[in-house]
Symmetry: C2
Subunit: 236 residues, 2 copies
C-alpha cells in the first residue's frame, strides 16, 4: 500500500478521517505507523496529498488531511477486453490492470472460458472493487477503472463492440502468423486478450469484423496476467 485511499464514508469533517478496516491493520502491521507520521493519501475519484496520523488505537485511527491537491497519474488511452480468467487469476489481473492505469475493462465470455468461472463470488461488484483498490494503492492512483461484464460474446462483439472500437486502434493479442504487437503508441487502443488456450478461430473472425486485428508477441505462451502486462508495457 503506497497510497492510503479514502472513501467518502471515512470523513468525519472536511479535513479529518477515521479508519477502522483493512487499512488500519495495514498501517499497524506493515507500515508500523506512529502518531505524528505523515502518510500519502488519496480521495477515491479525487485528488491525492498527505495526512498526519493524529490518533492510533487498537480499533481505529484518526488522520488530519494536510493537503489534497495532486492530480492522480494519467490513465492509459485503452479499453481492455479480457476473456474472463479463472477466479484466482481474475483477482490478480484486476489488481494488475488497475495498477497499470487501465481506465476501462470489459470481462467477456469466450468458448474456452469454463462456465464455472462465471459463478465466482470474485465477480460481485464489491469483490471487484476491492481488487481494483489494491491495485490503485500499489501504484498511487485514486481513480477506479470501470469494469463491465459481458456474459454473451456474440451479441456484445457484434452489437456493442464496433462503437467502442471506433476512433481507436483495435487489436487482439493472439499467437500465430500475425504482425508483431506495435510499440510505444500515443493513440487510443482497444485491445482484446483471450483466455487460457486462446480465442477460437470463430471468435477471432468476429473480433476482426468488429475492428480488432490480431497481433502476436512471439512463440511463447504466457499466462494471462503476464500477457496482459507485457502487451500494455509494449503498446504504451
Amino acid at each position: 500500500m503506497n497510497l492510503l485511499l479514502l472513501e467518502e464514508a471515512d470523513f468525519i469533517a472536511a479535513d479529518r478521517v477515521i479508519l477502522r478496516d483493512r487499512r488500519l491493520t495495514h498501517m499497524q502491521e506493515v507500515h508500523r505507523a506512529a502518531v505524528g507520521d505523515s502518510l500519502r493519501v488519496g480521495r477515491i475519484g479525487g485528488l491525492m496529498g498527505s495526512a498526519e496520523l493524529v490518533r492510533l488505537e487498537a480499533k481505529e485511527a484518526e488522520l488530519v488531511i494536510h493537503s489534497l491537491d495532486l492530480p492522480p497519474p494519467a490513465k492509459l488511452p485503452l479499453t481492455l477486453l479480457l476473456a474472463l480468467p479463472r477466479p484466482k487469476m481474475l483477482r490478480r489481473v484486476l489488481q494488475t490492470v488497475a495498477s497499470m492505469g487501465v481506465p476501462k475493462i470489459i470481462l467477456v465470455n469466450s468458448y474456452r472460458v469454463e462456465k464455472s468461472f462465471w459463478q465466482t463470488p470474485f465477480l460481485e461488484p464489491e469483490a471487484i472493487r476491492e481488487q481494483l483498490i489494491l491495485g490503485l494503492e500499489q501504484s498511487r492512483d485514486s481513480v477506479l477503472p470501470e469494469v463491465i461484464i459481458e456474459k454473451r460474446f456474440k451479441p456484445f462483439v457484434e452489437d456493442r463492440l464496433p462503437a467502442l472500437v471506433e476512433g481507436t486502434l483495435g487489436l487482439v493479442g493472439h499467437p500465430g502468423d500475425y504482425p508483431a504487437c506495435p510499440r510505444g503508441l500515443d493513440e487510443a487502443v482497444t485491445l482484446a486478450i483471450g483466455p487460457e488456450g486462446g480465442w477460437i478461430p470463430y471468435e477471432i473472425d468476429l473480433l476482426a469484423k468488429a475492428g480488432l486485428q490480431p497481433v502476436q508477441l512471439g512463440a511463447r505462451i504466457l499466462r494471462v496476467e503476464t500477457a496482459v502486462t507485457a502487451l500494455l508495457a509494449r503498446l504504451f
Copy 2:
C-alpha cells in the same frame, strides 16, 4: 502446462518414458488425456517434439516419443539482477521470468530485502528448479535458466558485476527523474530490478559504478512481478 518436460530419469528406452509425478496428475486431471493422445514434449536441456500416450494407469503413464527435433525458442539476450523478493512473490517471479525466456537470473541482497526472506525453503535448488520448470512448461521452452544467489550486495556489485555488464547495455529500473526505459532493443542487456520500496541511493550509486544506468517506467509503482514483466516486454 503447454509442454510436458521430460527428465533423463523418465526414460526407460531411447524413445520411451514413464511418468509418475505431478505431470501424471496434470495429464489426468487438467488435460484429461487418453491413450492414443499426442502430447507436446520437450527434453530438459534438449529438443522438443511430440509423444503418444500409450498406457495410462492410476499411478503411472507411459509415452512413446515420436519426434524430438524442434529447437526451443530463443532466450532473451539478458542477465536479470533481481533483489530477492518475498517468498510468495519469488515463486511467481521465477515462473514468469522462465516463461519469458530470461536465461540468467541473479538473486541479490538489498537494504530493503527483509533478512527473513533469505530463510525461505523456496530458495533451495530443488524448489527453484520446480518453479522454473512450471514457467518453461507454460511457455513451451526446454532450457532451464541459470539462477545464481548473491547474498552480499557490495562484494557482488563491486567485484563480480562489472565483468557481467561488460559488452552489454547496463540498466537499473528505478522510479525518479531518469531517462525512460528504452524500447525494442536488439543488443544484450544487464538489468537490475529492486525490492519493494526500491533500491536505496547508496545501492543506485554502486550499481551505476558497476555500469548500470537508472531508467524509469513512469510514476506508477508496480509490484515486482509486474515491473519485471513490463520492463522485459518494453526492452525486447
